[in-house]
C-alpha cells in the first residue's frame, strides 16, 4: 500500500467536506444519541460515555455506509447498542467484583436515580432485544408515532405495531417477575 502524503497545513477539499459533514452530523444528532443513551442507562455519566464512544468510533473507522444513507437511523441504532452494552457490561463487572451496590436514599415520590421502580424498569429494558429497545425508546422517550418509527427504521407500520405489542408484553412480564422477587 502506498503511503499517502498528508498535508499539514491546509486540508484537502474532501477533508473540508468531511469537516462540514461531521460537524453537521454531530450538531444535528448528538441530542438524539444522548437522550437515547440516558433513557437506557439512566445515568448522566453513562450517557456522556455513550455519546463519546459513538462519535469516536466514527473518527477511528471509515465512515460506514449506513451513516451516509441515514445518519439519524444509524446513530440511533449505535446509541441503543452502545448503551445496552454499557448496562450489560456494568452488570457483569458488578458480579465479578461481588460488591453489592447500596442504593442511595430515595426521597418520597422520587422517580430519579435510585428509585426502585425506575431501577426495575431499566433492568427489564436491559433484558430486551436491541430491536425491541429501539422501538420502545423511540415511542416513549422521543414521542414518535408508529408511522414515524416505521419511516426511521425502514420497516412497515405493521411490523412496528406487532413488535411494540410484543415488547410491551415482554416488558410487563419482566416487571411482574422482578416485582415478585422483591
Amino acid at each position: 500500500m502506498a503511503i499517502a502524503a498528508v498535508p499539514n497545513a491546509s486540508p484537502s477539499s474532501s477533508d473540508e467536506a468531511f469537516v462540514r459533514v461531521f460537524g453537521d452530523i454531530y450538531r444535528q444528532h448528538y441530542q438524539l444519541v444522548y437522550r437515547t443513551a440516558y433513557s437506557v442507562t439512566g445515568s448522566r455519566q453513562d450517557a456522556e460515555d455513550v455519546l463519546q464512544t459513538v462519535f469516536m468510533n466514527l473518527l477511528d473507522h471509515d465512515l460506514p455506509g449506513g451513516l451516509i444513507r441515514s445518519p439519524k437511523a444509524y446513530l440511533y441504532r449505535a446509541a441503543i447498542n452502545t448503551a445496552l452494552n454499557t448496562v450489560r457490561s456494568r452488570k457483569r463487572y458488578d458480579l465479578v467484583d461481588g460488591v453489592e451496590e447500596i442504593p442511595p436514599p430515595v426521597p418520597a415520590n422520587s422517580t430519579g436515580p435510585g428509585d426502585p421502580t425506575r431501577q426495575r424498569l431499566l433492568n427489564a429494558i436491559a433484558k430486551l432485544k436491541p430491536k425491541e429497545v429501539e422501538i420502545l425508546i423511540l415511542r416513549y422517550e422521543h414521542d414518535y408515532s408508529d408511522a414515524e418509527i416505521a419511516t426511521m427504521l425502514g420497516k412497515s407500520r405493521g411490523t412496528i405495531a406487532v413488535t411494540l405489542y410484543r415488547t410491551r408484553a415482554r416488558l410487563k412480564k419482566l416487571l411482574r417477575t422482578s416485582g415478585e422477587k422483591q
Partner: protein, 539 residues
C-alpha cells in the same frame, strides 16, 4: 390485561429516565472538545502510518474543524444579486474556503459563491433570470456567470431546476463532475453522487453532454452516467421536493412514455400452477387464506434468485407495478368485493385472482449486491418483463374517481389533544369494537401519539373508502372516538350487525369529539386495467 397496560404506561411515563436539557448541552459540549483533542493526539502517528491512511481523512477533518468551523450569521451583501434565497428549510450555508456561514431566506448570493443545504426539506434559490432551483438537503452547488449564460456547478446532491425561458444566446447550464445539462426552458432534476450523475426531466427537454456525446432527454426520461447507479423512477427521484405533487402532476401531463428506459429480465424463470387455489382451498402450514388473492405462500429473495410460492397473478401485478402489499381495506376490496372502487387492479378473467402460481426465477449475474426488496425498481422491471412475456399481460393506467371522503376542519376548529399534554386513553392506534355495560356494540377509533395520517388510515379501514387529509394539521395526538359501528367497511367484513345504537354516527362523532369533518368527495386514484392476459406458457 387492561389494568396491566395502564400500569405499564404509567411506569414508562413516570420512570423512563429523560435527560435534562441543560445537562445534555453541557455534556455535549464537553464531548465535542474531547473529539477535537483526540484528533490532535493521534495525528502525528497517522501521517506516517500507511495502514491508517484511510483513517486520516476524518482526523484531518476534525483538526480543521477545531480551527475553521465558525458559523456566523451575516447580513445581505452589497451589489446586484446574482441569486436570492427564497426559502430555507433546515440550514443553508455559504461555503467560503474554510469558513461556513448560515444564510437566511431573502439574502442575496453573488456569482462564484458556493452554498450547501443541510437538514429539513432543503432550500430554494431564485436566479437573476427568474429560474428557481430547489436544493435537496445535503446538496452543494456553486453559482457562476458564464459567457453563455448562468452555470450551476452541482458538487453533490440533487437539485430540481424550474428554468425560466432562456434567450438563444443565454442559457442555463447545470454541470456535475461528469455531465453538463443545457436548458432552454424546462423543469428537470440533476443528481450528483459518488457513482455518477443522473438527469431526469419533468417538463420540456434538456440536452445532456457527457464527454463528446450529447443526447436529448424528454419528460419522464432519465439519463445516467453509470450503470452502477440505482435505477429509480422520476417519481421516486423527485419525492423529496416540497413541491413533489406539483412536479408529479406536471410530469403526468407531459410524459411521453412511462415505459422503462432499460429492459431488465430474469435470466431463467419457471412458472407452474401451484394447484392450490384459494377457491379449492389449500392445506397445511402456510396455506393461503381462502378466497383472498392478496395472501399466498410467500416470497423468498436472495441476491441471485426470486422464489414466489402460491401467489396469485393479481398479487404479482401489484408488486411488479409498485402497488405494494394489499392494505386491510384493499384486502376486503380484492377478497370480498366490498368497496371494489378501492381495488388498484381491475379487469381480467377470474383466474387472475383465484389461481396461484409457483415462480422460481434467477436474476442476471451480479444484478444485486444485497438482497433486493420487492420495491426495488430493477426487480419490479424484471417482474413486469416476466408478466408481459409469459402471461402476455397488457395493462393500461387510468385515473378513476371513486367515492371517498375528505377530512377537513370542523366549524369551530379541531379539538385534538396533543400527545405532549396528556396521557393516551389507549396505548395503541387503531379501531376496536367493544360492548358497553348494556351489551350494546360500540365502535372505537383510538389514537395514541397518532398523526393525522394514522387517523386517515383508520378511517379508510373503518369506512372501506379512500380518505384524503385536508386538515393541514401536523403533530401527534391522543384521541378516542366512540361511534355506532359504521355500516360497511371493516364492520361489514367482520360480520358485525348494525342495529339501533345509542352512539352517534361516525360523521357526527368525528365532528363532535375531534372537531373535524368527514365530507363525501370524489377521490382520484390510479388504477391498472388489464386489457389482455393469458395463462402462462409452458416452461
Amino acid at each position: 390485561m387492561k389494568r396491566d397496560d395502564e400500569n405499564l404506561d404509567e411506569i414508562l411515563d413516570r420512570y423512563l429516565p429523560s435527560a435534562a436539557k441543560g445537562e445534555m448541552e453541557e455534556d455535549g459540549d464537553r464531548v465535542w472538545s474531547r473529539l477535537q483533542s483526540r484528533a490532535e493526539d493521534v495525528s502525528p502517528r497517522v501521517v506516517f502510518k500507511a495502514t491508517t491512511v484511510l483513517r486520516w481523512r476524518p482526523v484531518a477533518a476534525i483538526l480543521a474543524a477545531a480551527a475553521v468551523l465558525v458559523v456566523v450569521f451575516i447580513g445581505m451583501r452589497p451589489g446586484k444579486a446574482f441569486a436570492t434565497v427564497e426559502r430555507v428549510d433546515g440550514v443553508l450555508f455559504r461555503v467560503e474556503d474554510t469558513r461556513t456561514e448560515a444564510i437566511a431566506g431573502g439574502q442575496a448570493l453573488q456569482s462564484g459563491e458556493t452554498v450547501r443545504a443541510n437538514g429539513g426539506a432543503g432550500s430554494t434559490l431564485v436566479l437573476k433570470d427568474g429560474s428557481r432551483v430547489e436544493m435537496r438537503s445535503k446538496s452543494e452547488l456553486t453559482l457562476e456567470q458564464a459567457d453563455e449564460g448562468i452555470r450551476i456547478r452541482l458538487k453533490d446532491g440533487s437539485v430540481i431546476v424550474n428554468a425560466a425561458k432562456q434567450n438563444s444566446d443565454q442559457r442555463l447550464y447545470v454541470q456535475t463532475k461528469d455531465v453538463t445539462v443545457s436548458v432552454v426552458g424546462t423543469v428537470f432534476l440533476v443528481n450528483s453522487e459518488e457513482e455518477g450523475s443522473r438527469v431526469a426531466v419533468i417538463e420540456g427537454e434538456v440536452r445532456v453532454q457527457q464527454g463528446a456525446a450529447e443526447k436529448k432527454v424528454r419528460p419522464g426520461e432519465q439519463a445516467m452516467t453509470s450503470p452502477k447507479m440505482e435505477l429509480l423512477s422520476v417519481k421516486e427521484e423527485i419525492a423529496w421536493s416540497r413541491e413533489a405533487a406539483g412536479h408529479l402532476a406536471l410530469l403526468q401531463r407531459t410524459a411521453v412514455t412511462t415505459a422503462p428506459q432499460t429492459r431488465l429480465a430474469f435470466d431463467e424463470a419457471s412458472i407452474r400452477p401451484s394447484g392450490r387455489s384459494p377457491a379449492t382451498g389449500g392445506g397445511g402450514r402456510g396455506a393461503p387464506e381462502q378466497g383472498n388473492p392478496c395472501v399466498g405462500g410467500g416470497v423468498q429473495i436472495d441476491p441471485g434468485r426470486f422464489i414466489a410460492s402460491r401467489m396469485s397473478l393479481y398479487w404479482l401485478i401489484r408488486r411488479a407495478y409498485g402497488k405494494g402489499n394489499c392494505t386491510a381495506e384493499e384486502m376486503f376490496a380484492a377478497g370480498t368485493g366490498l368497496g371494489s372502487g378501492l381495488d388498484p387492479v381491475s379487469g381480467g378473467p377470474g383466474w387472475v385472482k383465484s389461481d396461484q402460481f409457483d415462480i422460481d426465477a434467477l436474476f442476471p449475474k451480479d444484478s444485486f449486491r444485497d438482497v433486493p426488496r420487492l420495491t426495488d425498481p430493477r426487480l419490479q422491471m424484471m417482474l413486469q418483463e416476466l408478466l408481459t412475456n409469459r402471461f402476455k399481460l397488457m395493462l393500461r393506467r387510468e385515473t378513476r374517481e371513486v367515492q371517498g371522503y375528505a377530512l377537513t376542519l370542523g366549524r369551530d376548529g379541531a379539538k385534538l389533544l396533543s400527545s405532549r399534554n396528556g396521557t393516551a386513553v389507549s396505548w395503541d392506534t387503531g379501531y376496536r369494537f367493544a360492548k358497553n355495560e348494556k351489551g350494546e356494540t360500540v365502535a372505537r377509533l383510538n389514537g395514541a401519539k397518532a398523526s393525522i395520517a394514522d387517523l386517515v388510515y383508520g378511517l379508510q379501514e373503518v369506512t372501506g373508502r379512500r380518505v384524503v387529509d385536508r386538515t393541514g394539521i401536523t403533530g401527534n395526538f391522543n384521541y378516542r372516538v366512540e361511534y355506532a359501528p359504521f355500516d360497511g367497511g371493516i364492520a361489514a367484513a367482520l360480520g358485525i350487525r348494525i342495529a339501533d345504537s345509542p352512539y352517534p354516527s361516525l360523521f357526527t362523532a368525528i365532528e363532535e369529539q375531534l372537531g373535524l369533518k368527514l365530507q363525501s368527495e370524489k377521490i382520484p386514484i390510479e388504477v391498472l386495467i388489464i386489457d389482455h392476459v393469458e395463462r402462462p406458457s409452458e416452461n
